[in-house]
């Protein structure tokens, strides 16, 4: 792990918080896999291996004030922005009260109005131009918020992504284009997606700065996103930040990655698990003691248990709500 000096600027408390969100995300995610194996949920798409990048990015924002348009792998990011474990569990089961969609969308299709986390769909990269549009509106209004939107590296192949980034570059909008590069789009390796080495190289063709960081290190990501946010807030325009991460699981619970990558490759990733390495780093810096680590584990376990129990007991949405709201019946949010 490269020690960049950024961590010096973060309070110990914040470092612990970062670790805590990474841990909670991991334990929730692992539990989702178990629930799927138990036949209790129909689908799960995992963020295991991406947590450091996501939490590092989120903490570099003014959470709740800045705007975020995540993608399906961003459980840890969305938790960092304010999603609760219970809410995640409700979403997994399509239960009533699930805040992203009231059970209309599949799990991990994030939206959290109270935290400025914007609803996204399944077709990848469509949120990119929405981020540019929010950036445009922020600029028009003279607000000081910034926008972050994320996708996987495969999704940068979409014209959707290109056009959104281009808009922000032309208009120098306060947007951070965050790419979580795990080198795979389901089974398709990066070299079938792009002829450049880094997704961040694409920035050069679009006229904005692009930077690639180690996404296994939350602090490197924090630093890069914080710099991008500062640029954005200063009116200097968008930045592309690429975080190199591992997708340590199959693409989703519908996938089986044995056909397209070796077990050795997957084991090698697991050996570099960002959760473990960040924990060791914090211990080496005396930010975490063995006791605190154990306490956090216990607390995560408890939160996961409670969340799952809560969601299992929760009712489904009523069929009577299913036909609504196709149109805005009241203009409360508009």
């Amino acid at each position: 792990m490269v020690v960049t000096g950024t961590e010096a600027k973060l309070k110990k408390e914040t470092l612990r918080e970062i670790y805590w969100i990474m841990l909670l995300a991991r334990r929730l995610d692992e539990r989702a896999w178990v629930l799927h194996r138990q036949g209790k949920i129909a689908f799960h798409i995992s963020g295991i291996g991406h947590e450091a990048a996501q939490v590092g990015a989120a903490f570099a924002l003014r959470r709740g004030h800045d705007w975020v348009l995540p993608y399906y792998r961003d459980l840890a990011m969305t938790l960092a922005l304010g999603l609760t474990a219970r809410e995640f569990a409700l979403g997994l089961m399509g239960k009533k009260g699930e805040p992203s969609s009231g059970g209309r969308q599949m799990p991990s299709h994030w939206s959290l109005r109270r935290a400025n986390v914007v609803s996204h769909s399944s077709p990848v990269a469509t949120q990119t131009s929405h981020a540019a549009g929010i950036g445009l509106a922020i600029k028009m209004r003279g607000d000081d918020a910034v926008v972050l939107t994320s996708v996987g590296e495969g999704s940068t192949s979409q014209g959707e992504w290109y056009e959104g980034v281009n808009w922000a570059a032309v208009h120098r909008l306060p947007v951070i284009f965050f790419v979580e590069n795990n080198r795979f789009a389901i089974s398709v390796p990066q070299e079938h997606q792009m002829a450049v080495e880094n997704a961040a190289d694409k920035a050069a063709g679009l006229g904005l700065p692009g930077v690639t960081v180690d996404g296994l290190d939350p602090l490197q990501v924090y630093q890069a996103v914080a710099a991008a946010a500062a640029r954005a807030r200063a009116g200097e325009g968008p930045t592309l930040v690429e975080a190199r991460v591992f997708r340590m699981t199959p693409h989703s619970s519908d996938d089986d990655d044995r056909t397209y990558r070796t077990r050795e490759d997957v084991e090698a990733m697991k050996a570099r698990d960002p959760l473990g390495s960040f924990r060791e780093f914090l211990r080496s810096q005396s930010v975490l003691s063995a006791e605190v680590v154990a306490e956090m584990e216990a607390q995560a376990k408890q939160q996961v248990e409670q969340a799952v129990a809560f969601a299992e007991a929760a009712p489904y949405p009523e069929v009577s709500e299913a036909a609504h709201p196709v149109y805005v019946e009241d203009v409360h949010h508009a």
Partner: protein, 328 residues
């Protein structure tokens, strides 16, 4: 009351809404200094500045996508697609994003915005400057689709669309931009409710359903056949989604016959839904088969003059269809 053109009604609507609500802005190709390739935004750049009348990159999906983003933040964008034929790159944004935003977020997020697109043939535009795209979009829950046929409705529907809390596709019959004139009051606010059809001519012999330019020709045809003693009731649908089913059914209950005119190709066109509605809910009212008069099933309107004339429905073709149906 001064007579204005249909496009002037559109321009006035945008002017008034820009003045009324600072959340409103316009974005599209050539909408700025150029004032739009049809001049719909003429003078607005000068009046409201480059921040509210924005020349976009040549990229439709992001014109709509950026509009959605701005709407999510609380703005009221008017997105211009230069020709409806070029709306297809934005299909994903319109259908998967704008239209589904409210439902998919259980009402937490909404995309109040207007997408304007000139559509229709008869203007020498060939396959890619003549398309009618309403059937694609009127099928999409969550999206409203309106089509004005005269300056008053053009102005009133556009102002209503800007104020509507949902995404509204506003299709402009471009052949009628300067051809269709009508009186529009200057001293009162013109607003036309979305979702209401209008009986533009009363009649007892048959009901004719149309919109846009075809409504214009339908009125002409109705006048022609009136001289022959056939009294056609003409209904201007105005809003294609949500459809004003009561007005449609009410008219057929009275006349017992229905002719539907549209300039898109026939099969799977918007008129199919009207015919289906009648087949389902006006069974006992109908005294004759429902009749659709539409463009032929070729990929949009060919360029060469005689081929274009062959494609386009017009007053004569409509009058002929009326006579035939009347004689049933």
């Amino acid at each position: 009351m001064p007579e204005i053109t249909l496009i002037e009604g559109i321009r006035q609507a945008m002017d008034e809404e820009l003045a009324r609500d600072e959340r409103v802005f316009i974005v599209g190709e050539d909408v700025g200094r150029r004032g739009g390739v049809f001049r719909a935004t003429q003078g607005l750049y000068e009046k409201y500045g480059p921040e509210r009348v924005i020349d976009s990159p040549l990229a439709e999906l992001s014109i709509v996508g950026v509009g959605i983003g701005a709407a999510l933040y609380g703005m009221r964008p008017i997105c211009e697609i230069q020709f409806a034929d070029f709306i297809h790159p934005a299909f994903n944004q319109i259908v998967n994003e704008a239209a589904k935003m409210c439902y998919r977020s259980n009402g937490e997020w909404t995309a109040p915005m207007v997408i304007r697109a000139p559509y229709g043939g008869g203007i020498g535009g060939g396959l890619y400057h003549s398309q009618s795209v309403e059937a694609f979009f009127a099928h999409v829950p969550g999206l409203k689709v309106v089509v004005p046929s005269n300056p008053y409705d053009a102005k009133g529907l556009l102002k209503a669309a800007v104020r509507d809390p949902n995404p509204v596709l506003y299709l402009e019959p471009k052949k009628g931009y300067r051809l269709i004139r009508g009186a529009v009051p200057e001293d009162e606010e013109v607003l036309v409710p979305i979702g209401k059809a209008r009986v533009s001519r009363e009649g007892r012999d048959l009901s004719l359903f149309a919109y846009g330019m075809m409504h214009h020709y339908s009125l002409q045809a109705a006048q022609q056949v009136a001289a022959e003693g056939i009294e056609v009731e003409v209904v201007d649908l105005r809003t294609l989604n949500p459809l004003d089913r009561e007005t449609v059914l009410g008219s057929v209950r009275k006349t017992g016959k229905a002719l539907i005119v549209y300039e898109d190709n026939l099969t799977g066109g918007y008129g199919a839904e009207i015919a289906a509605l009648l087949a389902e809910q006006a069974f006992t009212d109908l005294d004759a088969p429902v009749r659709r008069l539409a463009g032929p099933d070729v990929p949009a309107v060919p360029y060469s003059r005689p081929l274009q004339d062959w494609f386009m429905p017009n007053a004569e073709k409509i009058a002929a269809a009326i006579r035939e149906l009347d004689a049933y």
